[in-house]
């Protein structure tokens, strides 16, 4: 032992090469050791719930900067890095992700892109939402502007995924989650899109509610065009369902007695309330025009065209809006067709007969009230009467053989008078017309069938 002390006093010369060796070791190992520690620290944090993780190693000291989503997560991450063999110290530069209050997340859509913004609770849900937006919207560009924040309501991901599905149904708009309320605004892509979104919102996860729903639907358009040259009535646009569809086409067939009805209508949900009640009378008004267009857009009805004569134009302008359901608006742009050249009595008679061969003036059953479906025909007859100012015209009423003769006689007279009254109201001089009734005495068809009876119930115009 004594020898060891003695010898040790002469060990110092070896420290000089030792120092050199130390220098070389430090020079060659420092960077390698640092990258090894960084790699292994990163590996232990692979599954940790952190954002913006940044590991810097200086010698054996690790600086851990990261955003954690809970106090526990932060502590666990620190402990994991401290436990990495070879790490001497861990400098804690972690922080908790800020808490958002209220927790707001939104998805917005404009013409070219979909933007996700606001707060997402975790990196996993952030990427899940962005992926869902890509999947739901196909080729549309998706811009992810989401931040990460704490404080998301429970089942946030489910709610957000459901709403991302809805943004596909919008042309433009924004859907926002604020804590656990949902607000929607914008314009639906298709008719029925708004209803589809409303239906989907019923599947929002428990705890979520809709605070405001300002989704607008594209205008619900119905159009009818009366073409006097092609003698057609073209119906385009939308109707609520098959029932309304067939009812409207049938009504058009009755009102447009000489035109062929071209039916290009499609069924779609999203019709404004009172659609059928407004479109029916509007079609009636169109039937009184020589040429015209009816455009129904949401609750606005626009009728433009030429009436057959002045009084008709006034009547249409004044009369149409009255029968509309509440909230409907009516705009009429009615001009009057230029008066046609006068004709002599023979031609006049021919014109009357041609018109009455195509259609029959209808009345309410057993009454002398003119059926509104016949106003189009009456206006055409009035126009013809205006073309032969010199002619005196007998308006003759006929009935079928049902009921008593005296009743039928009176009814035929009253009906003929009702037609004359209509003509006089249209501005024709009363003294040119005589109303006569023939009851069922001059049938033109058998009174045994319904068709025959319908032909016998008629008004005839006889030019004298």
């Amino acid at each position: 032992m004594h020898g060891l002390f003695r010898w040790s006093s002469k060990w110092w010369p070896g420290t000089i090469p030792l120092a050199i060796l130390w220098g070389i070791a430090a020079w060659s190992n420092t960077t390698a050791l640092e990258s090894d520690l960084a790699a292994r620290s990163t590996a232990v944090l692979k599954d940790a719930l952190l954002d913006k993780t940044q590991i810097t190693v200086d010698g054996r000291d690790v600086t851990l900067a990261a955003d954690a989503f809970s106090e526990d997560g932060r502590r666990d991450a620190m402990a994991a890095v401290e436990a990495v063999p070879g790490v001497r110290l861990v400098n804690d530069e972690t922080r908790l992700v800020p808490e958002a209050k209220p927790f707001i997340w939104w998805v917005g859509r404009d013409v070219v892109r979909v933007t996700l913004g606001g707060s997402a609770p975790l990196p996993a849900s952030k990427s899940k939402l962005a992926e869902a937006a890509h999947a739901a919207l196909g080729n549309v560009e998706v811009v992810d502007q989401m931040n990460l924040s704490r404080g998301a309501p429970p089942r946030f991901d489910d709610a957000a995924l459901l709403l991302i599905d809805q943004i596909g149904k919008l042309k433009d708009g924004k859907i926002t989650i604020s804590d656990n309320t949902v607000s929607l605004s914008g314009m639906a892509r298709d008719l029925g899109g708004r209803e589809a979104i409303d239906e989907s919102l019923k599947n929002l996860p428990e705890g979520f509610s809709v605070a405001s729903d300002d989704i607008k639907a594209p205008p619900y358009v119905f159009q009818a065009y009366k073409d006097p040259v092609a003698v057609t009535l073209t119906l385009t646009g939308y109707v609520p369902d098959d029932k309304v569809h067939s009812a409207l086409v049938a009504a058009a067939g009755r009102k447009f007695f000489s035109e062929k009805v071209v039916d290009n209508l499609k069924s779609s949900v999203g019709a404004p309330s009172g659609f059928a009640a407004a479109v029916g009378p509007a079609l009636g008004a169109l039937s009184r025009l020589s040429t015209g267009t009816l455009v129904v857009s949401d609750r606005e009805v626009k009728l433009s065209g030429d009436a057959f004569y002045d009084a008709a134009a006034v009547q249409i302008r004044a009369g149409l809006g009255k029968g509309f359901p509440q909230g409907w608006q009516f705009k009429a742009d009615i001009s009057v067709k230029p008066a046609q050249a006068p004709v002599d009595a023979t031609v006049c008679q021919q014109l009357f007969s041609d018109l009455l061969a195509k259609g029959n003036i209808g009345f309410q059953s057993a009454q002398a009230t003119i059926d509104s479906d016949s106003l189009g025909l009456l206006d055409r007859l009035t126009e013809t009467a205006l073309r032969c100012p010199a002619a005196n015209i007998e308006v003759a009423g006929h009935t079928d053989a049902d009921g008593e003769d005296s009743f039928n006689q009176t009814l035929s007279e009253k009906r003929a008078q009702a037609v004359v009254d209509y003509l006089v109201k249209a501005g024709l001089p009363a003294d040119r017309f005589t109303a006569t009734g023939h009851g069922s005495t001059q049938p033109v068809a058998s009174n045994d069938t319904d068709e025959g009876k319908a032909q016998n119930r008629r008004i005839e115009f006889v030019v004298k």
Partner: protein
């Protein structure tokens, strides 16, 4: 510690061998040794450095270099002790011819 030893085993072995050579030579070296006072101061210095390393007061790379130096110094001392002891035994068995 185990990690550092494993990572630098080559350098530690080198230090051990260097110590062995230094110890081997020290037995027959005729030059001046370190005085007791200097040895005392050097021990104090070594203890201070060791304390600094254990307390982790030197940050970053210098801290690592200190750890590495101390880790290399330890096998050097062990090598010196073994070298001197073996040389001494070798000399006593075969005393040099006077």
């Amino acid at each position: 510690m185990t990690y550092l030893a494993t990572y630098h085993w080559g350098w530690l072995l080198g230090s051990l061998l260097l110590g062995f050579v230094a110890g081997w030579i020290a037995v027959v070296h005729r030059g001046p040794g370190v005085s007791k006072v200097t040895a005392g101061w050097l021990s104090v210095l070594a203890a201070a450095l060791l304390a600094a390393a254990l307390a982790r007061v030197i940050p970053g790379r210098p801290g690592y270099w200190l750890d590495l130096g101390l880790m290399m110094f330890a096998p050097y001392l062990v090598g010196c002790a073994i070298g001197s002891w073996l040389r001494d035994r070798a000399i006593s068995r075969h005393p040099p011819a006077v």
